[in-house]
Symmetry: C2
Subunit: 633 residues, 2 copies
């Protein structure tokens, strides 16, 4: 956390100084804005939170409800989401209050007496150690609270506009604010009244029944709902010994339960199999009472009993797997495609079962992917063409998610005898863990992701996947650190220079690279950083030496890694790292001992890996990503 | 964090339900209260924070200033304090924003050219790994903010009463509220007006010039000030390579600097030696200008230069070591001593140099020691005699602190040639580290600390020292945990039962102990817990098994460790732990394989260690600590 560099900060350093549109921000929604976000679910809130870091961009987020969400349905937080929360500064706090999944138990009919269930297996939740972040369960309302706090503390001082419902929109062919949105006051003194807002861009984060999707002519396509589940959040007294462990429970008669303990030590979520639904059911299954769900749970868990003392929430749903035909409003396959003006994210794009705990997570990554691109375009850093990459990148992820969830929920609903092997369910869980943990996403080469020509320079940072952190030591204060955890959701590109073996300061490939980066007119930092801005305003440049911290003389570190910042021109010493000899990042991530450069996008995805000498390639990568300086200023 | 057990909690679970005096708490200071705390420094705030957990006790805390502290002087946070913050729920957040000390550098005149300083040595800050908590630097204002948040979120909804200055007090011989305190409005519309408040107890946390101390006839005694230091918090540009590392710097001419990097990445604190002060100086040294301090710093640090770009705060002080002759108002050595009604804490009791970073830390432990005792007495749990232990326990600590600080500041001020060995300073630092880290405090046997007859049952939990946590695994959810970190500052006594080797549930010493604890009329839990209260209301009872979590069957765990709590009679599963096989707590803390009981006070100090069979001793220990149940209700 950097503060005091503009003078002494007395209060909470998480509260950044207001800037730009955050100074005297109007309470009332203006008539013309840059970005209108519809919906304050996880996708909308992360989009707004990221945009709140761009104080030159007027972003507003509207919500039909009159205030904060009280009880949300989503609760699964995969490790990739916690990694994302780290960048937004609240990973530590949400971990403190969440339930943490470390193992999963699989219960099956006892071979000796199939009317009884027995614990067949217990597997670690993250068997391969794919992330240093935990897998959590916490109500989505709290996730939204933390994003709300972040955006309120950000320079743009963003706060949701509650009590405004999306009615419709029209996109004009030109003009500064081509999208005209009609909203209706859904509560308060003006309830029922409509108004219009003109926006440059609109982001629909308004859920599975998205009105924004409908407004751009999008539809969901996918399979029929065939299987029903009762879901309940309950306080119980039970003799079931694994009541505080995540469990998949399969009973003799084919019924199954997915049990997910919740935060706070006492609440549990049960997904109770209600069986196949006949095509002529016409929603009757949705009227299944809570008593029936509880009775069914007790049947499945025999010989254990579950006495429900309090029901916090319950529902019945049928599994549907559907994908939107479009993620934005750009004309499909036009000869001269216009860049998109309206986007949809999250459940508006993809719906599926809740049981893999994916929905909130994938939705947040949708928003994280889109928001920085909007910020860069509207801040004048980048061309509009960047925005086409949102649908291209996220539609693949959504498709993969739906395929995965189909497999998982089919397995969960299968009768034991229908499985090829009794352990098929747990084997699938262990084998595929990286996917639901959120780390299988790999964006394909594009203007924002380089081709993998030099992947060999750092095999542990796959191009197109998220930057996987590793331990290092900060040189200036010998603090142990996790390199990736210092990356904040501040919209900056990151350039990590991994040094070659030379003694710091001696002639070397690193020294040449640093000289080029700081001074060459071809350097992206020199070319693209606006005049008058701090040298680290758009690019966060760090170095990792192969030596241990005692052997790095700060006086010999090139100035590219010791930027002078702020009104006093202070040196930022926190860009210089050394290996942790116990856990050498060069070994852990397969970094070439001859050095490497790793380029990371603002949403934490690796954009390129290249040798220290490949300066032309680095310059060429950034050339189309940024507008020329002349155009930006 | 336990929540949802009384029904669904939608918001921040750190906000506990208001109870007792926290419901409809009056804004205005009442005429008659239980505890009046004078001063909102670290000692006062921790006292108030702890008492805010007792909703039957009316506590108010007054402060002369009209609002929150803007810039504090204290900044050193030893590991023991972070351990304490853990119990108050904000260790994680303060670690995030603090500077962390991991190493210390010692700079001395270069033997080759003594006009130049060189780095002579770099030592780890906690060479022996005495704590899992870090050593931090963060402004005391932020510490106070976090305590303020905790007390506002606690059942008693405690908030400071700003703009009220302590004028004087009188203690009557009897009556329900024997202390009459005169206060003056120091700001606001009633500025200058006085008023009186009647209190059962008063705690003076009003600093080195304590008016409360004066009111009870206390005086500070100690040595003369002989050595002056300039202190400045500054933003600099420098070529000194260790500017972000804690350094002791000694120059050829005997001048020295203690350099302490501050939070936020850029601010540094310099303690600059201004030399000995002649007895007829009459405070002239205190008029040393900031320019002179900066010039002196540059002299000492030659050949390096420090250009100060911004001064956040500076001061000049002379080291004084003084100890109060009394810590409370109880008549000294009276034949029938009355229990105390007025206490002083923190700087009101002990003043010393700032350079060992001790003041705020020892002051907070003063408050932590006193507050739960006040809470227990006023809640009707314990006899008034408990209150005499405050002065008895804390005066020894204050004396040790002053002795330590005298040695350290004398060494810091010594000319290189005056040292027996050039490395004397760093050797002292490494050798004595446990003291400044806050872990040398060991209370002597008393009604609150048992004699060490059975210390051999758990050699790693020394009786009278703070309970040193170790890793374990929570059985119900296989979560890795640190046993001591689950202890909250909730005023409860803790009883940790370390199991013998038997399989859980089988006849064993543990099973017998659990049966006795849950059911015997002699059990402290049975005898002292009030009727109608949850069984864990006053005693937090946990068990640690020697098996790994997979081998502990929750169905076989005795009910003493699975209490039923709250309106729904839910089972609390989070009291049952297993060893972490990689770091076996039995080995790490020398716990007898035959089992042991460790009794821990509400302020985290070990009160007794005893065998599982010593139930008579356990009952006898608690008998005088609690009033009988009849007297309490």
């Amino acid at each position: 956390m950097r503060f005091h560099h503009r003078g002494y900060v007395s209060g909470d350093p998480r509260v950044e100084p207001a800037a730009g549109v955050g100074i005297d921000r109007p309470e009332e929604l203006p008539d013309a804005i840059d970005v209108l976000i519809v919906g304050t679910g996880p996708a909308g809130m992360i989009t707004a939170a990221q945009l709140s870091q761009f104080p030159n961009v007027t972003t507003r987020i509207v919500e039909r409800r009159s205030g904060r969400l009280e009880v949300g349905q989503a609760d699964g937080i995969q490790a990739r989401s916690v990694e994302t929360f780290q960048a937004f500064g609240f990973a530590g706090r949400i971990i403190e209050e969440a339930y943490r999944i470390t193992t999963m138990s699989f219960w099956r009919p006892d071979a000796a007496d199939p009317s009884h269930i027995v614990r067949a297996k217990r597997t670690p939740d993250d068997p391969a150690g794919v992330s240093e972040f935990p897998h959590l369960i916490v109500n989505q309302a709290r996730v939204q609270d933390y994003f709300a706090e972040f955006m309120a503390n950000s320079p743009a001082r963003l706060r949701p506009d509650f009590g405004l419902e999306f009615v419709g929109l029209e996109v004009a062919d030109g003009g500064e604010h081509p999208v005209t949105v009609t909203l209706r006051h859904s509560s308060g003194p003006r309830e029922g009244q409509t108004r219009t807002v003109r926006a440059k861009y609109v982001v629909g984060c308004d859920g599975a029944r998205s009105a924004v999707r409908q407004a751009i002519g999008g539809t969901l396509a996918g399979d029929q709902a065939l299987h029903a589940w009762g879901v309940m959040d309950v306080l119980t007294v039970t003799d079931f010994p694994d009541i505080r462990t995540k469990c998949a429970i399969q009973s003799q008669d084919g019924g199954s339960i997915l049990l997910i303990p919740r935060e706070g030590g006492h609440l549990d979520r049960f997904y109770v199999d209600l069986g196949e639904v006949s095509p002529d059911d016409h929603g009757a299954v949705r009227r299944t009472s809570i008593e029936e769900i509880i009775a069914r749970a007790n049947q499945i868990m025999h010989p254990y009993t579950v006495r429900v003392e309090h029901v916090a929430w319950h529902s019945v749903y049928e599994v549907g797997h559907r994908l939107a035909d479009r993620f934005d409003d750009a004309p499909a396959n036009g000869t001269s495609p216009r860049t998109p003006r309206v986007f949809i994210t999250g459940d508006a794009c993809h719906t599926h079962s809740a049981k893999a705990g994916q929905g909130m997570n994938v939705s947040m990554q949708d928003g994280f992917n889109l928001a920085w691109k909007l910020g860069h375009v509207l801040d004048g850093r980048s061309p509009e063409s960047l925005l086409s990459s949102y649908a291209a990148e996220r539609r693949v992820v959504a498709k993969d998610l739906i395929d995965f969830d189909k497999q998982w929920s089919t397995l969960m609903a299968a009768k034991p005898e229908a499985l090829a092997d009794p352990s098929e369910l747990e084997d699938f869980y262990v084998k595929t863990f990286e996917f639901p943990a959120g780390f299988m996403t790999q964006y394909q080469p594009s203007v924002l992701v380089a081709d993998p020509e030099h992947q060999a320079c750092a095999t542990g940072f796959p191009i197109g996947k998220r930057f996987r952190s590793a331990p290092v030591v900060r040189v200036c204060d010998a603090n142990p650190a996790h390199l990736g955890h210092h990356a904040r959701a501040d919209g900056r590109w990151r350039i990590y220079a991994f040094a070659d073996t030379a003694t710091p300061g001696q002639p070397s490939a690193l020294t040449d690279f640093a000289e080029w980066l700081a001074h060459s007119p071809d350097s992206p930092v020199v070319t693209h950083t606006p005049d008058g801005a701090d040298v680290d305003a758009w690019f966060d440049v760090k170095v990792v030496y192969q030596q241990s911290f005692e052997d790095v003389d700060m006086s010999s570190v090139p100035e590219a890694f010791l930027p002078r910042i702020g009104p006093f021109g202070l040196v930022d010493y926190e860009k210089v790292y050394a290996v942790d000899p116990q856990q050498d990042i060069f070994e852990l991530r397969g970094v070439d001992r001859g050095g490497a450069v790793v380029v990371v996008r603002p949403d934490q995805y690796v954009a390129d890996v290249l040798p220290l000498t490949a300066t032309d390639r680095l310059a060429a990568f950034f050339a189309p990503v940024f507008l020329t300086r002349g155009a930006a200023s």
